[in-house]
Structures are given as C-alpha cells and as structure tokens.
C-alpha cells in the first residue's frame, strides 16, 4: 500500500500532505505533555515493535504471503493519538531508510496507514466492544478482528479512491482508473484483512494473558474518566468521532472529484440522452460552481452535522445525569 512518488496527481498529493500535517500536529500537541515524560521511549519502542511485526509474513494461500499493517493493533493498545504518531514514525523510517513509499506521496501514505487505519480500527473496536463485551474473550476477539479487518479495508479503499481521483482530475495522466484500482485494491485487501484480523485478535488475546498491564497501564493513568458508565459513554462518543473524522478526511477528495470529474448521475443521463429539466424549486444554498465552493459547502455541512450530533448527545447525557440525581 506504499504509494511511490510520481503516481498521484500533484493536487491530490498536496491535499494529502495538508490533511496529514493538520492531523499529526493536533496529535502531537494533544500528547506533547505525556510524550515529554515516560511515553516517549514507550511510543518509540512500540513503533519499533509494530515495525518489526510488519516483517512477519503470514500465508494467504497458493504460496503468496501478506504482512501486517498494525494500525488497528497500535490504536487498540495505546489509543489513537499515540498510534497516529507512532505509525507516522514507522512510515517516515520506511520512506527515508528504505525508500518504501514516496516523498510527495508521503501525505497520502500517512493518511491511509497512519491516520485512517488507526482511527477506523480504534473507532470500530470501541463501537463494537459494548455490543459484544459480555461474551468475554470470544467477543473481544471478534471486535478486535473486525476492527483490524475494517482498518485495512478502509485504508485500501482510501488508497484506491485517491488513485481514482488522481486519474479523473488529471485526465488520464496520473493515477489509476477506478475500474482497475477499486477492485484490485479492495479485492486484495479484503483477503489480506482476514490475516490482519486473525493476527491482531491473536496478539490481543496473547497480551491479555501474558502481560495485561500493556492495556491497563494506560487506563489507570487516565484519571479524567470516572465510573464505568461514564467511560463507556465517552468512549463511544469519541469512537464515533474517530469514524466521522475519517469521513471528513475523505470530503476534500470527493469534492475535488465531483467538481472536476463527472457526476455519476450526469454521466448516466447523458448516456441515456436525457437532459435535466427545469428545477421545481430553488435551494437556498448551492453546492458552488467550482472545487473550492464545493469544498467549503461540504466542510460547513460536515461541521454543522457534527455540532448537531454532539449537541444531541450532550442533551441526552445531561438529561440522563439529571435523572440519576
């Protein structure tokens, strides 16, 4: 999944770099205080552990092998901010030490494997945990496995989408056409994901047996959450936030595609020889006529929906707290 230089359209690569820089800066600022203390060598050591675990090849069948990405595993072990920083470090080493993955494409690679993969993995794990948590170890294995599979699959989908957008907006100079990239990436990684899921679930089970403090240390060090219900609620909220953030990251690419490429519906209508009739009513807002117009209306819409959701959750929370009193 390491995209080399020169494959992606420069605009797509630039958006990737900007998004990556924004998210990683936030992650660093958020965790700076704890990184100064004991967590710095800990994150470095875990990154090294994941880096080396990526060298473990697992068999897929027919003589081919795949290897771990580890984003979900990292995030489940130490939380998403450390996972984002640690995976970024891993990718930096791979790009600068081994020439694996490009420099201009670094933003996109980091976006896929260091941001989207941990966020999806962590989000799915925490959303599933309350659902299957009561079934004990099997439930845990299922949620870790699902999270790991989803992280690989969504990261691969993001990669395929970036290539498809590159192809569409560059008029066939860069990228890979969606008809090739989407089935190739998704098909391959749907299978690879099964290995990732099995190994991640195995690792978590193993760690719980052998060294439970790998998990509990972080939970104990986090005094802000008090009470079991409070933890559950806030984690669920934050996990939904992680999934929403991934969607938000996809928005600029989507609007780039929608503004420059052709809309699927328009294409179909043109193929069928249908023209758009007069509008029945005018919407008070427009999507904007160009890329930035579309981008800004998209971002405004996203922020509005997120704020509304947070408000509703807060209101529900407040009412429940009032009931308990």
């Amino acid at each position: 999944m390491h995209i080399p230089d020169g494959l992606m359209d420069p605009t797509v690569a630039a958006i990737g770099l900007i998004e990556f820089a924004a998210i990683v800066s936030v992650a660093i600022v958020v965790s700076r205080r704890s990184l100064r203390e004991k967590d710095l060598p800990r994150v470095a050591m875990l990154s090294a552990g994941i880096f080396v675990a990526q060298m473990l090849n697992f068999p897929i069948g027919g003589g081919t092998t795949g290897h771990l990405v580890g984003g979900a595993l990292f995030a489940i072990m130490v939380g998403p901010t450390f996972a984002i920083i640690g995976m970024t470090v891993i990718l930096l080493i791979q790009a600068l030490m081994f020439g694996d993955g490009g420099i201009t494409a670094f933003g996109l690679n980091a976006l896929n494997m260091a941001i989207i993969a941990p966020l999806v993995g962590w989000g799915v794990f925490n959303l599933m945990k309350p659902l299957v948590g009561r079934t004990g170890r099997i439930g845990q294995g299922v949620s870790v496995g699902t999270a790991a599979w989803a992280s690989v699959f969504v990261a691969a989908a993001a990669c395929a989408a970036e290539m498809a957008v590159s192809y569409a907006i560059s008029g066939g100079t860069y990228g890979i056409a969606a008809t090739v990239s989407v089935p190739a990436m998704l098909g391959f990684h749907a299978v690879i994901g099964v290995g990732e899921a099995a190994i991640s679930a195995g690792v978590v089970t193993y760690l719980e047996h052998v060294s439970p403090e790998t998990f509990s240390r972080r939970a104990a060090a986090n005094p802000s959450s008090s009470g079991r219900k409070g933890v559950l609620r806030s984690t669920t909220l934050r996990a939904s936030g992680a999934v929403l953030l991934v969607l938000a990251l996809a928005l600029p690419f989507y609007f780039l595609y929608a503004a420059e490429g052709r809309d699927g519906l328009e294409q179909t209508m043109e193929d069928a020889g249908v023209t758009e009739g007069a509008q029945l009513a005018n919407s008070p807002f427009t999507y904007g006529q160009n890329y930035f117009g579309a981008l800004f209306s998209g971002i405004i819409g996203f922020v509005a929906v997120s704020l509304a959701m947070t408000g509703i959750m807060r209101a529900l929370d407040g009412r429940r707290a009032a009931d308990e009193m």
Binding site: G49, G61, I93, G99, Y167, T173, A198, G202, V203
Partner: protein, 249 residues
C-alpha cells in the same frame, strides 16, 4: 534474516556505515533539499522529453554516487507492482504515451530517492532532518524507533530460529489456524518484550540526562561541494519546471 517488506538487505547493512564516497560525505541537508526538490519536480512533470531528461539526470546521479546498483535494483523491485499496475492501466485506458510517461516518472522519483536513502548514513539523515527544522518530537522518536528496530529485529531473528527448530514452517494459508496462532503469538511476544524493554531504556536515558531532544554530537557546516550539489539540483529542477510550465500551459 529479517525482512522489511521484501527488502531484506538493508536492515543488516544499515547498522554499519555505508561505504565512503563523495556522495556520502556531502552535508545531509544539501542532499535532502537537493534530491527532495528534484523528486517533487519529477512528480509534476508530464511531457515525455522532460521526463526522459529527468530520468537521465537521476541515472547519472545513481552512477556518480557509486551506490551499489544491486541494492538499488532490489529496492526498486519492491515498488514495481505499483508502477506496473499504474502504467498498464494508463496504457489501456488513456494510451501508450501516458503509460510510458508513468513508468519513466515513477522510476525517476524512486531512483533518486533510493540513491539518497542508500548513499547516506542513517543517523546523518536524521540529523539533517532535525537541522531542517522538522519538529524535535518526531525526529527524536524516529531516531529512537530506528535504534529499537535494530534491537527487536534481532529478537525476531532468534524467535524465528527457535520456531524453525520446533518444526514450524510458516503455515499454509489463511485457513491454517495453527499457523496464524503461532504467528500472532510471535508478534505478541515481540510487543511484550519491547514494552518491558521500554521502561529500562527510559531509566537509562534519564541517567544520561535525556530531555525530550537529542543534541547532535556532529556539527558540520555547508562546504562549497555541498553548495555546488544543492545548486546543481535546484537549478536542474527549476529548469525542468520552467520548461514544463511553458510547454503545457
């Protein structure tokens, strides 16, 4: 042998110093800035002539730097599946010229980057990044992580030998539950060991007065050779960009 994603050779080599040539002696800042600018330029070129010119420059750099061609070839092969998929699909969907352009473009960028990576001592590269104002948190983490990767991969090697001695041959397929269990326990053990080690290492670092940033022992100033190298690559990149923008408005 430890393998980093299919390029197994470097991890063992990387611990040692790379062979001394004029290229390895250049200031890492000059190399980073010069080659990265060139790579970025290469990534935006779209006309075949300019791409060929860039490829020639990259090949000349590879030859002049005397980085082992074998290493370059091995690392290039890792990127090959992507290059092939991309260019074959462009070849089919938009035409042979675009397909060929894609091969040349990606090869140019990959080659230049590989020369930089293979021809620079690892910790020099980190120091270069540090002095180019990459945040200290990241560079320190990168340095520590790289150091630990060398340690843990030795551990993995030992575990691999132990596994082999007990008759484990890597499993057959994704349906092989036993094989996957062994692999995941191996990964789990790696993480437990690294986590246990992290605590000791922290104590050790503190003993030596570590405070969130690593000061560089080596101080160097840009010499005339460094400026010449940097100037050459900046000029070449500038020229390529200018012509590109002139040719394709």
């Amino acid at each position: 042998m430890a393998t980093v994603h299919g390029n197994p050779f470097q991890l063992h080599k990387a611990g040692r110093d790379t062979e001394e040539t004029w290229f390895t002696r250049l200031d890492p800042r000059a190399k980073l800035l010069g080659i990265l600018t060139f790579v970025i330029t290469g990534a935006i070129l779209t006309s075949t002539d300019l791409l060929l010119a860039a490829l020639v420059l990259a090949a000349a750099l590879a030859a002049a730097s005397r980085v082992s061609a074998w290493n370059l070839a091995k690392a290039y092969i890792v990127a090959l599946p992507f290059i092939l998929l991309a260019s074959v699909s462009l070849f089919i969907f938009t035409g042979p010229v675009q397909g060929a352009n894609m091969v040349i473009r990606v090869s140019t960028c990959v080659l230049a980057l590989l020369v930089l990576v293979n021809g620079t001592e690892t910790f020099d590269l980190f120091l270069g990044l540090r002095r180019l104002k990459v945040p200290a948190v990241l560079t320190t983490l990168v340095m520590l992580t790289y150091r630990y990767v060398l340690l843990i991969s030795e551990e993995l090697d030992r575990m691999r030998i132990a596994r082999k001695a007990r008759g484990f041959s890597g499993g057959k397929s994704l349906l092989d539950r036993y094989g996957l269990r062994v692999l995941s326990y191996t990964a789990g053990m790696l993480l437990v060991r690294s986590s246990a080690r992290a605590d000791n290492i922290y104590e050790g670092l503190k003993m030596r007065g570590f405070r969130e940033d690593m000061a560089a022992w080596r101080r160097r100033t840009m010499a005339s050779a460094d400026f010449a190298f940097l100037g050459l690559f900046l000029a070449a990149s500038g020229a390529l960009i200018t012509i590109q923008l002139g040719v394709v408005p």
